[in-house]
């Protein structure tokens, strides 16, 4: 070791501190952060993002990729935005750094307030970066144009919002009043209003704690050893010797250390996935061992000498290879590598198609789609007495609890899941990821254990949307009535089951689209390969199937000589219609209203396109339309939610809100429903999180079920609590409640009664009044032909895409999306719009650019998701056809909103060019190839 005392510009490394301990030599580096002079003693090459978060505990600056691909770590250095993950702390020496924590000066900045007012923050993980970068823009240009906003924010990815509300929030920041109106509605008027989201403020201040934002200082860091091969045997060498030779490494754990059943899976009967693989790995990225050590030691750990020997084995990534005779079985108990198949048959489709006046057939292939939430999986675990506590991001705390307990051999009441804020989920955070791994380390070492996945680790090891290979035929009579449809699809489910069975079952139920299809057969097969595990992703296979059906509908309308919108209206489900599962829909069917509402937009869009096309040769505009329907909640399976609400002696309304808010807004929506059912104003509510130790199970945030199922439980609980209070006061249900400090004033007519809450008995949880209600949607099982009542509630929607294709380059410029969605009752219209815009952005990605290729696109610069410049203006039309079952008439919508976008875009591309791209994404290469092929046929 040298003891040179070097000169650096502002940074003066002091090697006196370079003790022969953990990590590399450190230097004293001074700079300003948010106006305060800071001095840190850290290795000079440490990333600025790491120093801000880990040394200065300014965790508002997020790390999404460590490669400059997502921009989540954006901070200002001397006023200019930079990615803190790409800057050495040495380069920050002498500068002035501004982070999200520096934007509010005693109160929210106008921009922060504008973000809240516009609903521009959903999950909130990208929000700090957007706010910081937009602040730099507004300092130079207080009234920016849309293009200026896009140029300034183009380097920051958001996966939730679809960006349009962000653009509006920045453009309108100068108009934002000095103080934010939180718009909290009066008692009884919560439903239908759009208050500022109840969990909003910490999302714009940097205060929100996501999975990686609260690691204990003394936690062991965990590094996961993963298979570099799609299929490989492996054997370990001297792990103990290796660990001992590396100072600061506490231990190495393998499958042999797992105390419970090394087999998890979201659907019990199909559980097949080891937390740590045993002897061989079935996919690239599968975890095989854990290295736990002091944080600095793990940061400085060179894994090149880790004693594992791999023996690569033959693999296949395509369902057709997996189904081929003689293909090796990935799971011995699953012949032909078939995980499971879903099947629905109604009427006699062959006869119907044979007798149809017109039939159309086609095939569509789709790709793996990555969820690409900006927050990679992160969390920590520790022992609280004999209870293992896991603090992590999630969509499903109770499922995490049960899976973690199973793997670790613990009773479920000895595992406690404390959900942090979740920086996007979209389905992939339904499955456990790091929970059993950090749990194992905490359990074995007795020390807290922390882990944040790298971006690549997140991409290679967690679930994807299923790639689909689909074929279908649809027939219609001469009047344009659809008479029959046959659909089949292979869904590449990857190496383990995950939600593959759900996809296989949901697809045949939905592949008809929201159209009366009297004769129908559909089969969806989930096929194992050595590819990434396909699981839940917003729509469970229905977005893929809808591309098949809706593109064929355009072709069929063409053969019939009918307008494409008219054809859909003629066939859409209506009250009294029977679905392909034989379910009679008596009321609440809103697809016709959605399509009707689009009619004027359709006429205008077609006229605009015609006008443009008459004046242009190499650029052609096109207009496309597609619909969706989607059953809310589990398919023919129980999925209860429980809500507990009570009143504390001090007059606070305590809501145990277990519907995990991953950005979609359940913290606000469930509270709005409960408030109006109870008859007390929103401002009196305090929320308890989905911590499994304190809050009842509200089920998973999945299947568009929270507004409907948990909302219904919240409605019931609110009403039950109200009843208890009314009964206590001995008044009728017409009475109104008012909280007045630690008292409830109850008015009925001229009479007022007052209940002094402090005089009442307080229960163990601090309640003087409480109610707890459970709701489980009434469904009926599907029989062997898929007939039954799989869902109690469906939601509907339809979208128009307008776009321009550059015929010479095959590129697509989106012009506008018009979206009409029947949500039954918009509990919170602003949040509904946010869901619609965000779903459309993901649909755009699926249609035009997203293609996860294992081994090739395991980062966010080869795997592309839409940027702020890729989402056009979106006009939302809210349709409210109340559902008799849903709370206050509400239906789910989280997944619906993504489904029509991709087929509407493909239909618009065909309208513009005359060619249908049959493999998505429709990249410039594929669009251009289809155009060339058509030109060659001429």
């Amino acid at each position: 070791m040298s003891q040179v005392q070097p000169e650096m510009n502002e940074a003066l490394p002091d090697l006196g501190n370079a003790l022969p301990g953990f990590g590399a030599a450190r230097a004293d580096i001074t700079f300003e952060v948010n106006g305060d002079a800071i001095s840190v003693n850290v290795p000079p090459l440490r990333r600025l993002s790491s120093v801000l978060r880990d040394e200065l505990l300014l965790t508002g600056t997020k790390v999404g990729c460590d490669a400059g691909d997502c921009g989540a770590c954006t901070v200002l250095v001397d006023g200019d935005p930079v990615c803190a993950c790409l800057m050495s702390v040495a380069s920050a020496a002498g500068t002035s750094v501004t982070t999200i924590e520096g934007l509010a000066n005693g109160r929210l900045s106008a921009l922060q307030a504008s973000f809240l007012a516009h609903g521009a923050a959903q999950c909130g993980i990208c929000t700090p970066a957007l706010l910081v970068a937009a602040t730099a823009l507004l300092d130079k240009q207080p009234n920016p144009t849309e293009t200026e906003v896009q140029d300034a924010l183009g380097g920051i990815l958001c996966r939730c919002t679809g960006y349009r509300k962000i653009i509006a929030a920045v453009m309108d920041a100068s108009l934002q009043a000095a103080s934010l109106d939180f718009r909290l509605p009066q008692s009884g008027q919560a439903i239908g209003s759009s208050p500022v989201r109840l969990d909003g403020v910490p999302k714009v201040t940097g205060g929100e704690k996501f999975g990686g934002d609260s690691f204990p200082a003394d936690a062991l860091a965990v590094l996961v050893v993963r298979s570099p091969h799609y299929h490989a045997g492996f054997a370990f060498g001297d792990l103990d010797g290796w660990a001992k030779a590396h100072p600061g490494i506490a231990a190495v754990f393998t499958a042999a250390d797992i105390p419970g059943k090394n087999c998890f899976g979201v659907i019990g009967p199909f559980a097949d996935q080891p937390a740590l693989a045993e002897g061989f790995a079935r996919l690239r990225g599968e975890a095989v061992a854990l290295v736990a050590g002091e944080r600095e030691a793990i940061l400085d750990l060179d894994m090149s000498d880790f004693p594992v020997r791999w023996t690569e084995l033959p693999h296949f990534l395509q369902p057709r290879e997996a189904r081929a005779g003689g293909a090796k079985l990935i799971h011995d108990n699953r012949p032909a590598n078939l995980l499971t198949a879903g099947f629905v048959e109604h009427g006699d489709p062959e006869t119907a198609l044979a007798g149809a006046a017109f039939t159309v057939s086609g095939a569509i292939d789709t790709s793996y789609v990555e969820h690409a939430y900006i927050e990679p999986e992160a969390g920590y675990a520790y022992l609280d007495g004999d209870t293992l506590v896991v603090v992590a991001c999630t969509q499903a705390p109770y499922m995490d609890r049960d899976e973690t307990a199973k793997v670790l051999g613990l009773a479920v009441d000895k595992v406690r899941i404390v959900p942090t804020a979740t920086g996007g989920g979209f389905g992939s955070k339904l499955d456990v990821s790091l929970q059993p791994l950090i749990g194992l380390v905490a359990l074995k070492t007795g020390r807290p254990a922390a882990l944040a996945y790298t971006r690549t680790e997140s991409m290679i090891s967690t679930t994807k949307r299923h790639p689909a290979e689909m074929k279908a035929t649809i027939g219609a009579d001469a009047d344009g009535h659809v008479t029959g449809m046959i659909f089949e699809g292979d869904f590449n489910t990857g190496a383990y089951a995950s939600w593959g069975p759900t996809v296989a079952n949901r697809v045949p139920v939905h592949a008809s689209g929201p159209y009366a299809t009297p004769n129908y057969r559909a089969e969806g097969r989930a096929i194992h390969t050595h590819g990434p595990i396909s699981g839940a992703f917003r729509g469970f296979g229905v977005p893929q199937a809808t591309i098949m059906q809706e593109t064929l509908y355009d072709e069929l309308a063409g053969k019939l000589g009918m307008d494409r919108l008219d054809f859909r209206l003629k066939n859409c489900l209506r009250n009294g219609s029977e679905t392909v599962t034989g379910q009679r829909l008596d009321s609440g069917v809103g697809i016709a209203e959605c399509l009707e509402s689009l009619r004027p937009h359709w006429a205008r869009a077609k006229a605009d396109a015609d006008a443009f096309n008459s004046a242009n040769r190499d650029r052609r505009r096109g207009v496309g339309i597609a619909s969706c329907w989607y059953g809310c909640g589990n398919t023919s399976l129980p999925n209860p939610s429980t809500i507990r609400v009570g009143i504390a002696a001090d007059g606070a309304v305590i809501l145990h809100q277990g519907a995990i808010d991953i950005g979609q807004g359940s913290n606000t929506v469930i509270t709005q429903i409960c408030a109006d059912a109870l008859g007390l104003p929103l401002e009196k509510f305090q929320l308890k999180s989905g911590d499994t130790a304190i809050t009842p199970d509200a089920g998973k945030t999945s299947a568009s079920r929270q507004t409907f199922v948990t909302g219904k439980a919240a409605e019931k609980a609110g009403r039950a609590l109200r009843e208890k209070i009314l009964r206590f006061a001995n008044v009728s249900e017409k009475a109104s409640l008012q909280l007045d400090g630690p008292a409830i004033a109850i008015r009925e007519g001229e009479a007022t009664r007052r209940i002094d809450l402090t005089s009442l008995d307080v229960d163990a949880e601090g309640f003087v009044f409480r109610a707890e209600e459970t709701y489980d949607p009434p469904t009926l099982p599907l029989d062997a032909k898929g007939q039954g009542k799989p869902y109690a509630v469906y939601g509907y929607g339809a979208q128009i895409a307008e776009l321009e294709v550059d015929l010479k380059l095959g590129t697509v410029k989106l012009i506008k999306i018009t979206a009409a969605h029947d949500v039954g009752k918009a509990i919170n219209p602003l949040l509904v719009e946010g869901q619609i815009e965000g779903g459309i952005a993901q649909g755009i990605g699926m249609a035009l650019m997203e293609e996860y290729i294992p081994g090739r696109t395991e980062n966010l610069h080869d795997y592309l998701i839409p940027t702020i410049g890729d989402v056009p203006p979106i006009e939302t039309i809210l349709i409210e056809v109340p559902d008799p079952e849903g709370p206050f008439g509400a239906k789910g919508l989280g997944e619906h909103v993504l489904i029509p976008t991709a087929p509407a875009i493909l239909n618009a591309i065909r309208h513009a060019t005359g060619v249908l791209v049959t493999k998505v994404p429709a990249t410039p290469t594929r669009i251009r190839a289809a155009i060339r092929e058509k030109e060659a046929r001429r």
């Binding site: 070791m1 040298s2 040179v4 070097p6 000169e7 650096m8 510009n9 940074a11 090697l15 370079a18 022969p20 990590g23 590399a24 030599a25 000079p44 090459l45 990333r47 460590d66 490669a67 400059g68 921009g71 250095v77 935005p81 930079v82 990615c83 790409l86 050495s88 040495a90 380069s91 970068a133 896009q150 140029d151 183009g154 380097g155 920051i156 030779a245 100072p247 600061g248 030691a297 940061l299 790298t454 690549t456 010479k808 380059l809 095959g810 590129t811 035009l848 650019m849 293609e851 090739r856 610069h861 592309l864 839409p866 940027t867 410049g869 990249t923 410039p924 290469t925 190839a929 060339r932």
Partner: protein
């Protein structure tokens, strides 16, 4: 050991008794930096935007020469014969610095390098030294006949850009050398220029293909044409067949027709996740036509935009 550097012990080596250490140095003068480079192999840290992604979560095991203390290497200077772009000059510096229209292509390219956050720190020289086939800055510098200044303790040499980038991630940089400047001869700063990057999304994208063109028009006739394409061969190339086909033609829409039949034998695109080889060769010709028309002001940016 020269002033301005110090050593970072590598943990496992400390404990295994080996003598391994990594060195980190942040010199403040170019001479000091060159002296260090003369001592052994260093990995150079400039803007960090390629350095950190390449590092990922691996521990540092290379000696790192941090050149961010070299104030002399940042900025654009004008000599009698050249525009001299210091090696640490960022893309934002390029955007903000007033330059003749011949540099418009370079400025347009600068706006397409990653994101604004990247442009604020990433250096022009780093983009060249990283030697990616998709380096956004290369085509625009090729049409400016840029040369790369390389210095070592012993010597200073200047290589034409096309002789500096040898292949994918391969340059002519010799041990002991660093890039100190990019020099654009004033003779190559006449005319007007344009650049287009074709990608699968609007921002923050690696190009499928990109083209820069600089045309000198005299009395309505193309007196000289410089055209270069990137992401369509291992190293971005000047398209001499296209350039020859354009010279002497009237500066009008007919230029596009000449491009349609001009040879582009320099290009040998590969298929990758961004596009097929067939698509690239097809699309790049179209982009060349558009960029050439844009360079002579016959197409608006909106029309060109891919």
């Amino acid at each position: 050991m020269p002033e301005g550097s110090f050593e970072i012990p590598v943990l496992e080596d400390l404990f295994s008794g080996r003598q391994g250490v990594i060195r980190y140095a942040k010199p403040t003068s170019v001479d000091e930096a060159l002296a260090l480079l003369g001592e052994g192999a260093w990995r150079i840290l400039a803007g960090g935007t390629d350095f950190y992604p390449a590092q990922g979560s691996k521990p540092f095991r290379d000696d790192v020469l941090d050149i961010n203390g070299l104030a002399a290497l940042r900025g654009i200077a004008e000599t009698g014969s050249h525009f001299v772009i210091g090696a640490r000059t960022t893309w934002t510096d390029i955007i903000r610095h007033p330059l003749p229209p011949a540099f418009d292509a370079l400025k347009q390219a600068a706006r397409e390098v990653g994101s604004a956050q990247i442009q604020n720190v990433a250096s022009v020289a780093g983009n060249l030294s990283n030697a990616s086939p998709a380096a956004d800055g290369v085509p625009a510098l090729l049409v400016l006949d840029a040369e790369v200044e390389l210095r070592s303790v012993a010597a200073t040499r200047r290589l034409p850009l096309h002789d500096f980038i040898l292949g994918n991630r391969r340059t002519a940089l010799l041990p002991g050398e660093m890039v100190t400047a990019i020099r654009v001869p004033k003779g190559a700063t006449t005319g007007t220029s344009a650049f287009v990057k074709l990608g699968a999304r609007r921002y923050l994208v690696i190009s499928i293909a990109m083209v820069a063109a600089r045309l000198v028009v005299e009395n309505g006739i193309v007196a000289d044409a410089m055209v270069a394409a990137g992401s369509c061969s291992v190293v971005a190339k000047r398209l001499v067949g296209v350039e020859a086909a354009l010279r002497g033609l009237p500066s009008d829409d007919g230029l596009a027709d000449a491009i349609l039949s001009a040879p582009m034998g320099e290009l040998s695109p590969i298929a990758d996740v961004r596009g097929s080889a067939e698509y690239r060769i097809d699309a790049v010709r179209e982009i060349v036509a558009r960029v050439v028309l844009a360079a002579v002001g016959r197409m608006t940016g909106d029309e060109v935009a891919a």
